[in-house]
């Protein structure tokens, strides 16, 4: 059986074959690994991968599973189960001006109609005692400011709309992207 796991922006593909009770064979790229596994408790698994033993702590989260092995924690999600919630900040940069967490708008640095450069500061938000400047993901013109100073905002809420400077024909964008 093939598993497609989403990690940040990438998809990790594993071809997995159950070869016995608590035994599996996993192929990832060119690597093939023989795995023995045993559930110790709801959050703990004991693994033996190619003869080396590891403890893995696993917790179900709203958007996947957090998995900790050897002190390193990864958030992994079944790619077939997700897909509606793209993580911004990938290879092409974020596409929308959104607060990264519940925050308060402390300052608006641009006005409606103003042209902006890629990377130009648009809005300052404050959360957990830290100010963050949210920057324009691409060059364009501010078509709408959806928030006011002092307003509380949620993650994924679009704070500023930007019309891109050049319509990218290859991607067929015709209308303003909610930036």
């Amino acid at each position: 059986m093939d598993y497609k796991l989403k990690y940040n922006e990438e998809i990790i593909t594993l071809a997995v074959e159950a070869v016995g009770d608590g035994l599996l064979s996993a192929t990832m790229g060119y690597k093939k690994m023989e795995v023995a596994f045993e559930r110790i408790s709801e959050n703990l698994l004991s693994l033996r991968v190619d003869g080396r033993k590891h403890l893995a702590y696993v917790a179900e989260l709203p958007d996947g599973k957090a998995v900790m092995v050897d002190g390193r924690t990864f958030l992994l999600a079944d790619d077939r189960a997700t897909g509606t919630r793209p993580r911004s900040g990938g290879a092409n940069g974020p596409k929308a001006v959104t607060a990264p967490m519940p925050a308060v708008v402390t300052q608006i640095l641009v006005a409606q109609g103003q042209p902006v450069e890629k990377g130009q500061g648009l809005v300052v938000v404050s959360a957990m005692k830290m100010d963050t400047v949210l920057a324009a993901p691409y060059a364009g013109r501010v078509t709408r400011i959806n928030v006011a100073e002092g307003q509380k905002v949620s993650p994924r809420q679009v704070l500023v709309d930007i019309e891109p400077a050049v319509v990218d024909a290859a991607e067929g964008r015709k209308e303003a992207i909610h930036g």
Binding site: V58, P62, V67, L76, A103, S126, P155, R156
Partner: protein
């Protein structure tokens, strides 16, 4: 001695203070905001008094409400911890007026030292070396430009009321000065309610070395050696250690003496920290005095065997400090790693949310000062520190190995933490060689990403977890279902 103390703080530091109080037979009063009804400090206090909404100004910074809680519970003293009201002279003064003992220095000392410009003048008079820079606040851009030219670039803009890296900007070019000053001032206003900023020479290759001091009400002051806190991100410390790999015994003695001189010049009482910048040539300059218990105080406790909170309480109760400088000794090496809810892959952005699983490291020489537990929702409103992992061992090399072992067995699932990042820092050649300068992260770890081999293992663990049946204990309703409500879903953000 006091019979009851109110701890005007939250999280790990409130819990840590309560532990010493308990050992001293002193009852504790916790205070909590609406976001902290189920916080560990609220649960561990002998009494707990609600303050109000999550917003710090309406809870942990609300002086009237905290004073009312002290009076309502009959506490005789207040321990402010660090952050919040710990360095608020108005609060200390109000306590003095109300007949409540403030566990910290007198209000006037907090006021003098809390203003960095005033503190620089006090140190100059006491012949403690200071960094070249402004000695008075100024509004006029022309005055700033003149100072900038005289001091020379790069420059550092600092908040006069500052701390914790807030309101700080490095300026490399005259053209950036005005904008950087505005940004720093805005941040300072938001963080401290005072937008005064000033200029100092920026010293790029230097270490942050601080000296712990204790001073009693009779004027007897000692130092408890140094802490090196050079590993910082966004001007906030993330790894601290003692002894500093850079100090020779004679330099240690000189800096210790300078710190005691600084304390006496300022009329200091109680525990405090004198921060210095140390350049590669062994020159040190006064940075500031933190007039409170420091976040990283546990490493000093490890090497000296002293309980700093106990000494704070005894000094505040008027007892003389029985320790003399000669009888103090430093044993072994201690390291602290700060475990924040933050994402090292996303420039250490805070990562609030619900902690789904939590397993602390244990073993010889391991101490974890934690303020959280599995099931706790890390609030958005406060500094995202979860715990401080501290190790103590015979040598620096052994302490590093011990910290790596401890971090490897520390599971915090549900919020992002820098544990894997810290592992890579500790294992790195420059850290192990003691090349710990304040630009360490920028120099060696800007393009950090998690270890790929472990990612493969994690993917296998994911699959194994899916394939291994979860046995629910029959007839026991011990485990609540892990169905998150929509707010949990919403709060678990990622960039």
């Amino acid at each position: 001695m006091f019979k009851k103390i109110l701890i005007a703080n939250r999280g790990e530091i409130a819990v840590r203070i309560m532990r010493t109080c308990k050992e001293m037979g002193i009852a504790t009063v916790a205070v909590y905001s609406d976001a902290d009804k189920h916080a560990l400090h609220t649960l561990e206090g002998d009494e707990a008094v609600p303050l109000g909404p999550a917003e710090p100004s309406q809870s942990y910074l609300a002086i009237d409400r905290i004073i009312a809680a002290v009076q309502q519970t009959g506490a005789e003293a207040v321990h402010p911890g660090y952050g919040f009201l710990a360095e608020n002279a108005d609060f200390a003064e109000r306590c003095e007026r109300e007949g409540i003992v403030f566990i910290g220095p007198p209000a006037q000392v907090i006021r003098d030292l809390g203003n960095k410009i005033t503190a620089r003048r006090i140190m100059l008079q006491g012949r403690v070396p200071i960094i070249p820079g402004m000695l008075a606040a100024a509004d006029d851009p022309a005055v700033w430009a003149a100072h900038a030219e005289q001091i020379g670039f790069p420059l550092l803009i600092k908040a006069s009321a500052g701390g914790g890296g807030k309101g700080m900007r490095i300026v490399h070019d005259p053209a950036e000065l005005a904008e950087a000053r505005r940004g720093a001032s805005r941040e300072a206003t938001a963080a401290f309610g005072d937008g005064t900023v000033y200029l100092e020479k920026f010293l790029p290759k230097c270490r942050h070395v601080e000296i712990q001091i204790l001073a009693d009400q009779k004027g007897h002051a000692i130092h408890l050696f140094e802490r090196e806190c050079s590993i910082q991100r966004r001007h906030q410390k993330i790894i601290e250690e003692t002894p500093s790999p850079a100090l020779t015994p004679s330099l240690r003695a000189a800096m210790g003496q300078a710190a005691v001189t600084a304390a006496q010049a300022a009329g200091y009482v109680n525990a405090g920290t004198v921060e210095f910048i140390l350049d590669p040539d062994g020159n040190f300059y006064f940075l500031e005095v933190n007039t409170r218990l420091q976040v990283e105080h546990p490493i000093t406790e490890m090497i000296t065997g002293l309980d700093l909170v106990r000494h704070q309480i005894e000094i505040a109760a008027g007892r003389p400090l029985a320790l003399t400088q000669d009888e103090l000794s430093s044993r072994g090496h201690a390291i602290e790693c700060r475990i924040y809810a933050e994402d090292p892959e996303q420039n250490f952005m805070p990562s609030p949310g619900r902690i789904a699983f939590f397993k602390e490291p244990t073993g010889p020489g391991v101490r974890n000062d934690s303020g959280v537990y599995a099931g706790f929702e890390v609030p958005v409103a406060y500094d995202p520190i979860l715990s401080k992992l501290v190790v103590h061992a015979e040598t620096r090399e052994q302490a590093i190995r011990r910290m790596i072992r401890a971090l490897q067995s520390y599971a915090v699932l549900g919020v992002r933490t820098p544990i894997d990042f810290l592992l890579d820092v500790l294992a790195s050649a420059p850290f192990q060689a003691g090349e710990t300068y304040t630009d360490f992260i920028a120099r060696h770890f800007t393009k950090w990403s998690p270890d790929r081999d472990t990612l493969d293992l994690a993917a296998i663990a994911y699959v194994a977890d899916t394939m291994a049946p979860k046995a629910r204990p029959a007839g026991r309703a011990a485990q609540p279902p892990a169905h998150p409500d929509p707010w949990h879903t919403l709060n678990h953000w990622r960039l």
